[in-house]
């Protein structure tokens, strides 16, 4: 046998093909598949969550609500019942106009923190933060905010989004048991995107309910405009701009346009008399803020 090592042609054991083609193909495939799957499962869960009785929600929520209220950070004192009972009274005034189911109870909580936020969770528990309350210029805007949160409860949004979250966590647990965390990272990232789509729809639906309530309660929708003006100002102050696709809420301008569109379609008055928030409440909020700031100064020093 005569040995030799001639030059062997390239491209047999390796591929000359551009990997970008493969990358594009696989990523679009994976992306589409995951989004389609999440969308399908999400829609099924949306439909089936309505059969979970409201009493279950209340039972599940109670320990978390208790924990939240007893948490150091909330610093609730007996004086803050003033604001909480004011909010509860307002809510009780507007719920008859919102055609809630019989077993649904709305409980308002006032959270003495500077965060500009309001949220509705399981069991009809609604938390309004001082930071947002401070910024509302009128009771009309506050009613619009409360109506928006109550609409979330009415439309069972908390239980729907939590069930979707649980289902996806289950799927992760199965998938991550089988493969590496990069795959679960891809799955989690893409499904988050799909969930944001659901979230934006929910927010807009809640908006629509709240605008209708505004009209029924005051015979005009200016409260809605007031609220969104505040949110617009807040969003302009935000440090990082989030593009619409990656945001959990519709863009504020879109929400403002929705008010206009809905009012025009139904011939509702968009402007009207504004009722102010009672002065004792406003004073209480200012005092709470000062108290918190001075306590933070004491802690810092």
């Amino acid at each position: 046998m005569k040995y030799s090592n001639p030059k062997i042609p390239e491209g047999i054991n390796s591929s000359e093909e551009n990997p970008l083609k493969e990358f594009a193909l696989l990523t679009t495939g994976a992306f589409t598949f995951i989004i389609a799957l999440v969308f399908l499962l999400g829609s099924i869960l949306d439909w089936s969550s309505q059969f979970i009785p409201f009493s279950y929600e209340q039972e599940i929520a109670q320990p978390f609500v208790d924990e939240f209220l007893n948490d150091d950070m909330s610093k609730l004192t007996s004086d803050s019942d003033l604001v909480a009972s004011y909010l509860q009274k307002l809510a009780d005034n507007i719920t008859p106009f919102m055609s809630l189911e019989e077993d649904v109870e709305i409980t308002l909580h006032y959270v003495n923190q500077g965060t500009v936020n309001g949220m509705a969770t399981l069991g009809g528990n609604i938390f309004i933060f001082r930071g947002l309350l401070e910024k509302l210029p009128s009771e009309n805007a506050l009613v619009m905010l409360l109506a928006h949160e109550i609409a979330h409860v009415k439309l069972r949004h908390p239980v729907k989004s939590l069930s979707k979250g649980v289902l996806i966590s289950l799927i992760f647990a199965v998938v991550s048991g089988q493969s590496n965390s990069d795959v679960t990272g891809l799955l989690s990232g893409t499904s988050q995107l799909a969930f944001l789509g659901f979230s934006r729809t929910q927010e807009q639906d809640a908006d629509n309910e709240a605008i209708q309530l505004s009209q029924k309660y005051y015979q005009h929708t200016q409260g809605a405009n007031e609220l969104f003006k505040v949110l617009l100002a807040e969003s302009k102050q935000a440090n990082i701009e989030t593009i619409a696709l990656l945001s959990s809420h519709p863009e504020v301008l879109e929400r403002i346009n929705a008010v206009k569109a809905l009012s025009q379609a139904n011939n509702w008055t968009q402007q009207g008399e504004l009722i102010l928030v009672p002065s004792n409440i406003v004073e209480r909020l200012v005092q709470d803020k000062l108290a918190q700031e001075s306590e933070e100064n004491i802690q810092d020093n």
């Binding site: 030799s4 390796s14 990997p19 493969e22 990069d182 891809l186 935000a238 990082i240 593009i243």
Partner: protein
Amino acid sequence: MEQFQFQIVIGLVLLLLGYFFGRYFEKKHFQSIVKREAELANVLVIASKHTTASDSNKPGMMVTGSVVISVDYFKRFLAMLRSIFGGRLTSYETLLDRARREAILRMKQEARAMNADRIFNIKLETASISKNASGNIGSVEVLAYGTALINVP
């Protein structure tokens, strides 16, 4: 959700870095490999165990060549996608081709340095080094070894 945006941007930057630098180094490496294969063409590597009659009197010694090459982020991502859909992992195939040829070249270089021009009974071994926490390979090592027959003047 701003955090999510941030994560996406970082992911994309890493992918781009991995792709451009990865391709650049790969191209450079392949060019170097082809050049050195031409230079070392007269050092023969033979997989057979048996030497020829004329060679059997020469002194022999083991020569080795090893190389460790790292996987870049782009290759790893592509491999991860392939692990879902299945199929030929071309991104790793080029990596291993490079590593194998480099290891053989280094072994040949050792042999030439010892004044040998035939290496018999060559074997190759591949190992993945530094698997990271999620079980992805960090880098791959190829070891080539064989018996070199030294030309005694």
